[in-house]
Subunit: 348 residues, 2 copies
Amino acid sequence: MTTVNAYAAQDAVTPLAPFNFDRRDVGPHDVQIEIMYCGVCHSDIHQVRNEWGGSIYPMVPGHEIVGRITVLGEAVKNFALGELVGVGCFVDSCRVCPSCLAHEEQYCDKGMVGTYNGRDKEGNPTYGGYSTQIVVDEKYTLHVSEDLPIEGVAPLLCAGITTYSPLRHWNIGKGHKVAIVGLGGLGHMGVKFAASFGAEVTVLSTSKSKEQDALNLGAHHFAVTSNPDTIKNLQGHFDFILSTISAQHDYNLYLGMLSLNGTMVVVGAPPQPSIVQAFSLIGKRRSLAGSLIGGIKETQEMLDYCAEHGIVSDVEVINMGEINKAYERMLKNDVRYRFVIDIASLNR
Amino acid sequence: MTTVNAYAAQDAVTPLAPFNFDRRDVGPHDVQIEIMYCGVCHSDIHQVRNEWGGSIYPMVPGHEIVGRITVLGEAVKNFALGELVGVGCFVDSCRVCPSCLAHEEQYCDKGMVGTYNGRDKEGNPTYGGYSTQIVVDEKYTLHVSEDLPIEGVAPLLCAGITTYSPLRHWNIGKGHKVAIVGLGGLGHMGVKFAASFGAEVTVLSTSKSKEQDALNLGAHHFAVTSNPDTIKNLQGHFDFILSTISAQHDYNLYLGMLSLNGTMVVVGAPPQPSIVQAFSLIGKRRSLAGSLIGGIKETQEMLDYCAEHGIVSDVEVINMGEINKAYERMLKNDVRYRFVIDIASLNR
């Protein structure tokens, strides 16, 4: 076992603080990764503060991990020492259920093993990427291109795949009018992917201040949802809406903007339930759906797509010690668009 | 113009009572229909009592109409004098929008003209089937088989197509596990169609008392949703759930029973908004969708399918004077499964 430096939450209300723990020894199928960057996801805050319930403390968050392989298990086949790799939201799953066999481990019947705030098959808590090192089975490890800025790749492991997967699943591309609701860590990736796939992209935001950024990211239009005239003009307009908001919001407002047979997919998960009026769905045979990250195979496909098309997340790199301040800024939407922790700062 | 006998609501709180009004003259493209039977839909109650807002009084409800053609407009091409015909939930639409051109007039961009509680293109209120006669453009008139019991056909015009259409749209058939929520006018038709299409059908009901009926209607299984063990055992079980309940209910309870990529379609429209927890959708990429009756082309297809397969609604025939009592019984789920008014009773 190796003792690693980390930051952890000791409970739901105390700020994150330095913490040490032991990583498991490298098994035959494992790779040991020296973590270089770890993205900061809104779900880190939800879980640190136990807003979804069931949090395990101490908690070392972080599931947008990029680093280099420092030790290879003897049976590892698909990775090389020194290779740049990524780890996303889960590090194991049952491997035998229909979802796992269909390469959709995120929907594992037994429940995937979260990269943090989960329990591995021995019942030990899992610790995430706010740490200097992680040991992961190669089956749950991703290849990362050397050609992209590494810090911009880290958020692809969650924010990237979370938006890529539903756009692919619902076959979004040329000829589709797509709205992205919210322009944060998820939303800005949704804009990049939807535009890259050929869709006509509108960003829906409560804040006019993000208009220029939205256009810079590749959006074709921008609309402020607090303007009733805007809402009225967009009734029945979109084929597909991707809602990235993780605060409680009114689904009906957005459902009304869907055209016949349109689909709104929620990828943000407000802790509180939301309101849906049946008429909002019935009137134009609309669907409200959810989508959860993506499987390992699709995550690799997404990373390869990003390498080919030069897509990364727009990030603000911080030191580990700035994490509590970063959380506060995220809650005020004051980040363009993802905080990424420079994990080297943990050793300084 | 012809003066016809009818029953009408004069406002949202007074019981329905006898009423006379004039039907328009038969235009070149119209058929005049002597109404024989009219089904009683839950939406009649919603609209009579103004529970959806915007009700127009006096209101003559009724949109499950079967009768015989007594006058043919000079330009009518597809119907014959004396022919048995049906009229469903709408009697006109804009005819030029993409939905109308796609034979989905129920989703007309300008709004379909409801058979009652609507306004025709001249702005006159429309009056429905709780009356002895109706004049309808042949394009919005359906052919009805002479081989089925006429009173059992009437509810097909709304309850039938409302359940047939989503089952067809989502391609339900062999190999699918389908749940029908609620065993009323809509639900019992949903069971018949889903079973006829080859699906494995479970009825979900709050009332154990309907078990034998559900099985008699063609369901393969029956589950009482007030039993927590039942709910637990059915988690992730169904590919498709059709919710026919028009009272407020907890969508999450049913969403949890959907398998990966499963869809729940609501066809009942509670006046109050319902609660949806994003996690219920995200966890297995589930969809919550709505569906609204069906277009004229699909309604004819449904009627032809019913004639071919001997499918009708199970009905309790009442006289017009019993309508207020029937409404009260419907609100207690005390009808198996659709009241149908013998319109001849209006002339007695």
